[in-house]
Each structure stands twice: as structure tokens, then as C-alpha cells.
């Protein structure tokens, strides 16, 4: 699939922007391309677990991948001023885990870079 690196970087930038709005510090990212699966991790430091934000992230990022939206609109991801970035990011990842460990908010996401699944043209 084309633009694999670009799309993942834009996803990470959107998530970092979200962290920034939470007042987080000490951001870090990690990207693991493994064949047709990409795993990304984005972390930041927060003094306390942001329960509401974690619930919002969990809901937005686990709504389900929508490749038909992604193909047309992925160019809008990676923006820093939009109220809609989580919606689009959620359409671009297959699964995400949200955790708060030792003062760090951690998002681990998975993207399948191959075809969407059996039975598709």
C-alpha cells in the first residue's frame, strides 16, 4: 500500500497534538513496520490518569477501520488545529490500546497495511 510511512506519521502527529491539548509533557513515539502490519506507540507524561480523555481515545480509536474514508481523506490527518482529527485517526487504525502506567499515558495502535479482508473485490 502506498504512503504507509506518511500515514503513520500523520496518525502520530494527531495523537501528539491531542496530548498537547491535555497539557502533557515528555512525548515519545515508536514505530514498528512489520510486513503488512504496523504497530505504533505514542506516549506522554501526565501527573494523573486522564480518565475522560482515555475513554474518549478508546472510543474514537476503536470504532473500526474504514479504508474507504481513509483513501479519500487521509491527507487531512496530521493537522494541529482541527476538532475532527480523532475521528479520522480512528478510521485509520485497526485497533488501539489506551493505558496509563507510572505517570505515562500510552497509546498502542495497530494498522493492517494489506487488503481489508476476505471477500472484497
Amino acid at each position: 500500500m502506498q504512503y504507509v510511512l506518511e500515514k503513520n506519521l500523520r496518525i502520530m502527529l494527531d495523537l501528539l497534538t491531542y496530548f498537547h491539548r491535555l497539557g502533557a509533557t515528555d512525548y515519545s513515539t515508536h514505530l514498528e513496520p512489520r510486513g503488512t502490519v504496523t504497530r505504533g506507540t505514542v506516549c506522554c507524561s501526565l501527573p494523573a490518569a486522564p480518565r475522560a480523555a482515555m475513554a474518549e481515545l478508546d472510543e474514537a480509536l476503536n470504532r473500526g477501520r474504514q479504508q474507504e474514508i481513509e483513501q479519500s481523506y487521509w491527507g487531512l490527518s496530521g493537522e494541529t488545529s482541527s476538532d475532527t482529527e480523532l475521528t479520522l485517526v480512528g478510521m485509520m487504525v485497526d485497533r488501539a490500546e489506551i493505558a496509563y502506567e507510572a505517570g505515562r499515558l500510552i497509546i498502542r495502535y495497530t494498522r493492517n497495511e494489506g487488503p481489508p479482508g476476505p471477500g472484497t473485490l
Partner: protein, 426 residues
Amino acid sequence: MAKAHPRTPGGFTARFYPEYRLFALALLVVAGYGLALDTPAGIARGFWEILTSRSLLVTDYLLVGGPGAMLLSGALSGGLALALVLALAVKPNGAIIMALWMTAGFGFFGKNPFNMIPLTLGVLLYAKSRREPFINYTLAALLVATLSPVVSEIAFGFDPLHPWVGLALGVAAGLITGFVFPAVSAFTVRVHDGYDLYNMGFAGGLLALLLVALLKAFGVTIETAALWGGGYDAPMAGLLFALSLLLIAAGLVLGRGRNHRQALARLWRTSGRLVSDYYVLYGETAYLNMGVLGLLSTALLLALGININGPTMGGVLTLVAFGSFGKHPRNVAPVMAGALIAAQVNVLDLHAPMNALALLFSSGLAPIGGQYGPLWGLVAGFLHVTVVSHTGVLSNGLNLYNNGFAAGLVALILIPLIAAFHRPRS
């Protein structure tokens, strides 16, 4: 909150989600209404006229084929779009719902089952050339029909050509246009930053401009079309009201137990900028939003005394369609108010086709008002009306979503200016 459906590419029943059944029901209502307005023989004759028309913007199928044939064209165009979605086992979301309803609406003036297919096949060829699944390009495949007039004009509008040669060239032109469309449309969304909801129209306008220039370079000119029908305001308004109420009823029935008031209040506070998928975010409440937009826009046409014909019905259904993907009464009101002011003060009459369509389709810039406030929405709407008359000349009617092209240009110029001096509201 609505969760996206899991992908179930199994049998037909599994793919025929309630959202698609609702749309199919709406198409049956449209087709049945058409049968009530004309005889089967009249509809058949009129439909043949529609299929073989040049279909340039503005070609009102009400005038070309009569009311029954016009409604049949809308129903079949929507039906083809639905068939594609079912064949690809696409799960419903706001964008797909938008594309389905919009296709049906444009089936009243410019899109028809003949001129849509080559373009969609062109997108399929593109997907295969990239070794990617066609489903990834579903939206492009549905909305590439903005350039449907390319197929019809070349097939039926170039007189010196033998009919079969014209037909073959028209189909070939559709395949080529459809082939280049996905790449262009994926790029243009970055140009206006998501503030033009009709991004596919912006891409279509650029391609149409290029095609017109190429044809002119070889001495081929396209005569514009201005076919604008009327005389059916009451029955067509009735149909639009019925479809709007059907959506509201569907939202209430299918979304039983959902707190629609609270969800609508949150929905109406969004900017609407791409990607605002109201169906994914708010579930069946999106249907209520769609229905309300349909009621309000139809009432507006009646209040202003604007003909309710193929193009304006398409405009209403486009407003309805985007009720699932970016529009709501609070963000369309300022833009349409600005458009109305421009239509009142410009040299044309308010009821002139260009003004009437620009008023309805100015709502493509709704995110500007939604993000930056009603005053900027007003400015955007005003500028849209003044720009759209010129973009129509550039594309010679080959781009049905001409308002999308104009909106993209307005957004491209206005957004950087606004951003330089304003902070967006949160």
C-alpha cells in the same frame, strides 16, 4: 455512540444493513411517486431522452423527460450506487450514506445510469493498476459521477461523429476520467484543508477545466446548456417533505432509546469540517439531522418562490445527504444567508438557475461558519455566489458539482486570511 459495523462480506442479506434498506425504501418511494405522475409509456420515452441527453450542467431532467422519468433516473442512479456498495460489502458510515443520497439527488439533473458507469469502471481500473482493493476507492467510485456530463457530451453532443463512434469515445473518455480522478481528489482535500465539503467537486472542476482546455486546443467547443424546468412545485415539494419525514421517523424508530436531544445539541455544536462523520459519531441521530435539513431547505425554496425542479431537488437532497457528513442547521444558516444576500444584490434575479443552485449548494462551505463563526460563514456564502458563475464558464458544464469547485476556490483564499487574524472557536 455508534460503532462501525464489523466487516461482513458474506451473503446479500448480511450486507444489506438497515441503513441501506432505508435508502432502498426511499428509492422505491421516489420511483413509485414517478409512476403516479406519468404513464409507463411516457416514463419510458422520457427516460430514453434522459439517457441520450448531453446532461451538461444545467440539464433539468424534469424538462428533458418529464416528472416520472426524472424520478426514475434518480431512483435508478441511487440504485446503481447502492448496488456497488452492496457488491463491495461496504459497512455503512456517514460518508457512504452521504454519497448514496447525493447520487440519487443528482440523478434528477445530470447523472443517469448510462453516464455513471464508465467513470466508476475507470476508478476500478485505477484500483487494479495500483494492486489495491476496489473497496478502498468506494467514495471516489460513487462521487466521480460529478463528471458524468463528460461521457454524455462526447457520446451525444459531438454532431459530426457517427453515433457509435461518439458512444465509444464517450465511454473511453469516462474510463480515462475515472482513472485519474482518485489521485486528484485525494490531493485536493489538502488544498482547502477540509473546509469544502464538496471536495470531489473541486477535483472534478479542475479535471473539467483541463478537459475543456484540451478540447479547445483542438478546435472543439462545448455549447453550454441551460435547461430549467418547472410547474411541479407542489408535488415535488411533497415528495421532499415525505423523504425528510421518512428520515426523521427512521431516526426515531431505529434509534429508540438514544437521547436524540442531547446528541443533536452536540452535533449542532460541531464545525462540520472534514471528516465529520455524524453517523459514526451520533448514530441514528444523524437521520434526524438529515430530515431537519430537508424540511428547512424545502421550506426555504417554497418561501422564496424558487422552482422545485430537478436541480433544486438535487440541491435539497445534497443538503440532506451531508446531514450525515458535516452539515447541520447551525453551520449552514450563516453561509446560506450570505449566499442569499449575494443573490439579492447581484445582477441576476434570485430565481435565476445560477443563484438558486448557488444558494442551496453554498452550504458546502458550512464548516467555515462552523469553525470561525457566523460572520465568516456569511462572507464565505457571499463570495461563493460571486465565484460560482465564473467556475461554470471554466468547466463548460462538464462538472456537475460546480459549486464544489467554486467552494474550493473560496476556501483556498479565505481560510489562510481568516487563520491569520482569527483563532478558531473550540
